[in-house]
């Protein structure tokens, strides 16, 4: 055991240094950063294959593990969406599919994409990889717990996928799992399916809590010298705030799942009123289905921002780096993230305007919901104002960013329709809702994920991804996805309700058959286009162009590690010392168009730096 920690003594030396590393600089006072409060973290260095790559305590490896597993579940979700679109667009070709299958696919697609794909990918994947690097820590504060977190997620995914193979199949109650139908006959998978879903969610929440504590404490307590909260890259802010939301919102999901499981297994009546089923009164009584909806959306709405806020953060960094310009209004951006996060706990019932809850809630929730629109709009303005008078590199990463802006603004605007209580009434439960949330929390975050992959791939592997393939990937995805979801809003205007297996006999629906065929075709193409990325990754790993250090000329700490890709412990002998924010691009008077966060002021005395 002792040799696993052999580096720790050498590293500890640095904590006793008092003056910054700017040795030999003319004015040490200018570069003064106060000494480290806490001694260096001693890390467990694995030696065997298992401790290095399987049960690994290195946050970067855990991040990649999260990324791969989330992507794997995401591909399953993608295939399910294909099957759904096949049924909706070309029902005659989907003869093998029954309504039961369809609803199971709908449910699993939704749950996988929201929780097991997007949440796990952003927080588990990007969070683990980027937080320690960006705040200048050696690792997450509790590497062991972090490892357990991933393996809990692994088990949760296993349980979720196991539900495909139990009698009755996976649950088909819609991703919202509304009782009573979720646990009653008449809904597919109302037996084992729903139980495994609840178990899987509880495991996910437990696992995520372990990871989430790590992310929070790393950001709050383990930043490097000079790294104040207001110098952190927005990526960290986004992931950090999303994690706070997750820590406070997942409890409601956990409680809801647990109570529903008790309703199913023990016959309690938390959510179950008296029910007449097939002429018989069931042994339930007195419960309230709306209570579950409140619990679910008390989790569910923050969940939307758990997905959106990391995307906001990452996109800010990508836009800034690739337009060679500081993010416009950094402080406003930070406050917007924090305010959106805080407000997201006060808006949940805007998903329930027509749920039969107390009708007076409509006033409260419409108001709070539209208040959130203000900080969100400010973020959009700041992104496009960052482009203004920038020096925009039109590479693949930037294309994804631009695609994000278009889809996010589109989805954000339709969100104002749905958040505004009486405007929501005709549109809720129609395809308009589907189009809205796919645009705003499906496609838009996906654009960010893709942009982030193209951006940070050189960091993780030391190789560039192919630009040519990347552009194909982008245009197919963006144009395809836009032509799926933009026309879909109009299905909602017609009044086509969601979660319909088929409805071609309805008079106004027949007019939309052509549109459905078009949407399905686009969906097949977009789905297939994602495999370009996988091909690109495999190809670039083999014969990609070597990236070298800091290939994008970025400022933030993750590019400034002594080795690329960074090793376990990230920083070699000496932790970096931070002197400025992460956005000093194109500073007047500076030699280059970027000044890294570790550059001491004495080295760039000529430049007119405004914010530090």
């Amino acid at each position: 055991m002792s040799e696993d920690f052999k580096d720790s003594k050498a590293i500890q030396a640095q904590s006793s240094e008092t003056i910054s590393s700017g040795a030999g600089s003319s004015s040490p006072d200018l570069d003064y950063v106060r000494p480290a409060e806490v001694g260096d973290q001693d890390l467990y260095h694995g030696h065997s294959f298992i401790t290095k790559w399987v049960f690994c305590q290195d946050a970067k490896v855990i991040g990649v593990q999260y990324f791969c597993l989330a992507t794997f579940t995401g591909i399953i979700g993608l295939i399910l969406s294909w099957l759904m679109r096949l049924q909706l667009g070309y029902p005659e070709a989907a003869g093998f599919m029954t309504a039961e299958h369809y609803y199971q696919f709908v449910t699993m697609h939704g749950m996988i994409m929201v929780v097991y794909f997007l949440t796990a990918l952003f927080l588990g994947g990007f969070g683990n990889y980027l937080i320690p690097l960006m705040v200048g820590a050696r690792d997450m504060v509790f590497p062991y717990l972090n490892m357990v977190s991933f393996w809990m997620f692994f088990v949760a995914v296993g349980v979720l996928l196991a539900s495909f193979f139990v009698p009755g199949g996976p649950t088909g109650s819609g991703w919202t799992l509304y009782p009573p139908q979720a646990i009653l006959e008449g809904t597919p998978g109302s037996g084992m399916g729903i139980i495994l879903m609840c178990v899987s969610l509880i495991l996910f929440v437990a696992g995520f809590t372990m990871g989430g504590l790590n992310y929070l404490i790393t950001v709050l307590q383990a930043r490097t010298r000079g790294m104040t909260l207001m110098r952190m890259p927005l990526t960290v802010w986004g992931i950090f705030t999303a994690t706070v939301l997750a820590m406070l919102a997942f409890p409601a999901l956990l409680v809801g799942s647990l109570m529903m499981m008790l309703d199913k297994l023990l016959g309690t009546s938390f959510f179950m009123p008296t029910i007449l089923k097939a002429g018989e009164v069931l042994e339930y009584g007195g419960g309230s289905p709306i209570l579950f909806q409140h619990l679910f959306w008390f989790f569910g709405h923050p969940e939307v921002y758990i997905v959106a806020l990391p995307a906001f953060g990452i996109i800010s960094d990508l836009i800034s780096v690739h337009s060679r310009k500081n993010i416009f209004g950094y402080r406003m951006m930070v406050w917007a993230i924090v305010i959106i996060g805080a407000l997201s706990f006060f808006v949940w019932a805007h998903h329930m305007y027509v749920s039969g809850m107390n009708p007076w809630f409509g006033f409260f929730f419409a108001t709070t919901t539209l208040i959130i629109a203000v900080p969100t709009a400010m973020k959009v303005y700041n992104w496009i104002l960052t482009l203004w008078r920038g020096n925009i590199r039109m590479n693949t990463v930037m294309l994804w960013c631009l695609g994000f802006i278009v889809t996010f603004v589109n989805g954000g605007i339709t969100g104002i329709f749905l958040g505004n209580v009486s405007v929501d009434v005709p549109l809720s439960d129609t395809y308009f809702v589907i189009a809205h949330f796919h645009m705003v929390m499906g496609i838009a975050p996906l654009m960010v994920i893709m942009g982030a992959v193209y951006h940070w791939f050189p960091l993780v592997t030391g190789k560039f991804l192919s630009e040519k393939l990347g552009k194909w990937h982008f245009w197919l995805t963006f144009l395809g996805a836009y032509s799926i979801y933009f026309p879909m809003h109009y299905l909602g205007f017609i009044g086509v309700p969601r979660r319909y297996f088929e409805m071609y006999d309805s008079p106004y629906m027949t007019s939309a058959v052509g549109m459905n065929e078009f949407i399905s075709t686009a969906a097949f193409i977009v789905g297939a286009a994602q495999f370009i990325l996988i091909y690109n990754i495999i190809k670039s790993l083999k014969i990609g162009k070597a990236a070298g250090k800091n290939p994008w000329q970025a400022n933030s700490l993750e590019w400034l590690t002594p080795t690329v890709p960074p090793e376990h412990g990230n920083w070699g002998d000496r932790l970096p010392v931070v002197h400025r924010w992460a956005y000093d691009y194109s500073v007047p008077g500076a030699k280059e168009d970027f000044i890294t966060q570790t550059t001491p002021p004495s080295e760039v005395t000529d430049s007119k730096v405004e914010k530090t």
């Binding site: 609803y103 749920s355 925009i392 603004v409 309700p497």
Partner: protein
């Protein structure tokens, strides 16, 4: 450059699609034109913002694409601009919110002269009950439901005796008379939704929910279930016939009340017992 052009075409295409779309809302057949108006208002303001933001983005792509040696502007913050934008957005949002709240206020306050209709949902179908001459619906309980009492009316409640029972999935409504839809469900969540009326609300087992509208166009409409309720969800349809006062009265005459139903059932039972005795 190409990217900018394609993005521009996407924006242009979106606008053109909206103008020329053959798919738009069905002709309204109720008083909720105000909902359509709020949607239109949101469309103008929201759509304007969307187009403006995206065009600004496209302009930036054209104007500020990478040139070797050019330096981007360095301007971390612009307090004044940010303040202007915040206030403008707040104003815009308030302009959207206010009419929304006003319409919602109308939506939750039912007019006094509204005719109450009890819509009972089950997996997967509808049936309806109208108050009789006393204008009051009788209280119900799910445990009371049986073949003789399809709505589960409490027998001791005198209000329920004259209730008109329509054991069909089609309901007739009087034109230009507000109706208060009282929704209840015997099993899972449902939602009684007619796209032409715009309004909707979930039927939740264990409670009674409501909404109201005033049909104002004679015709026949399809009722859809708009809240997922199990495998039969997509097939859970019903119908509404909006007709003139005269036609409505004629139709109403032909319907059975609860006491009539009980009497009829009793006769049948008597006959059966007689048959058995014989």
């Amino acid at each position: 450059m190409h990217a900018g052009i394609i993005f521009f075409l996407v924006i242009l295409g979106s606008v053109l699609f909206h103008i020329f779309t053959p798919w738009y809302w069905t002709d309204i057949a109720s008083n909720w034109g105000s909902m359509d108006d709020t949607i239109t208002l949101t469309f103008w303001i929201g759509g304007g913002v969307f187009v403006a933001v995206c065009l600004f983005m496209v302009y930036c792509v054209f104007k500020f694409s990478y040139k070797e040696g050019r330096k981007a502007e360095y301007k971390p913050e612009d307090k004044k601009l940010e303040r202007i934008l915040t206030w403008a957005t707040t104003l815009g949002v308030a302009a959207l919110l206010a009419p929304g709240l006003i319409v919602w206020n109308q939506y939750v306050n039912v007019p006094k002269n509204a005719l109450e209709i009890d819509v009972m949902a089950w997996q997967w179908g509808w049936q309806y009950r109208l108050p009789g001459e006393d204008g009051k619906l009788g209280t119900t309980k799910i445990v009371n439901i049986n073949d003789n009492n399809p709505f589960g009316i409490n027998l001791e409640d005198s209000n329920g005796k004259d209730d008109v029972m329509i054991q069909s999935d089609v309901i007739n409504l009087k034109n230009n008379r507000p109706v208060k839809i009282l929704l209840r469900s015997v099993d899972v969540l449902h939602n009684w939704y007619v796209p032409q009326f715009r309004a909707k609300m979930d039927a939740v087992p264990g409670v009674v929910t409501y909404y109201w509208f005033e049909p104002n166009k004679v015709g026949k409409y399809e009722v859809l279930c708009a809240e997922y309720c199990g495998v039969g969800h997509y097939a859970m349809r019903g119908g509404v016939i909006v007709q003139s006062e005269q036609d409505y009265e004629n139709w109403l005459q032909g319907q059975q009340t609860f006491s009539e139903l009980i009497v009829k059932q009793k006769k049948i039972e008597l006959n059966e017992t007689k048959l058995v005795k014989k």
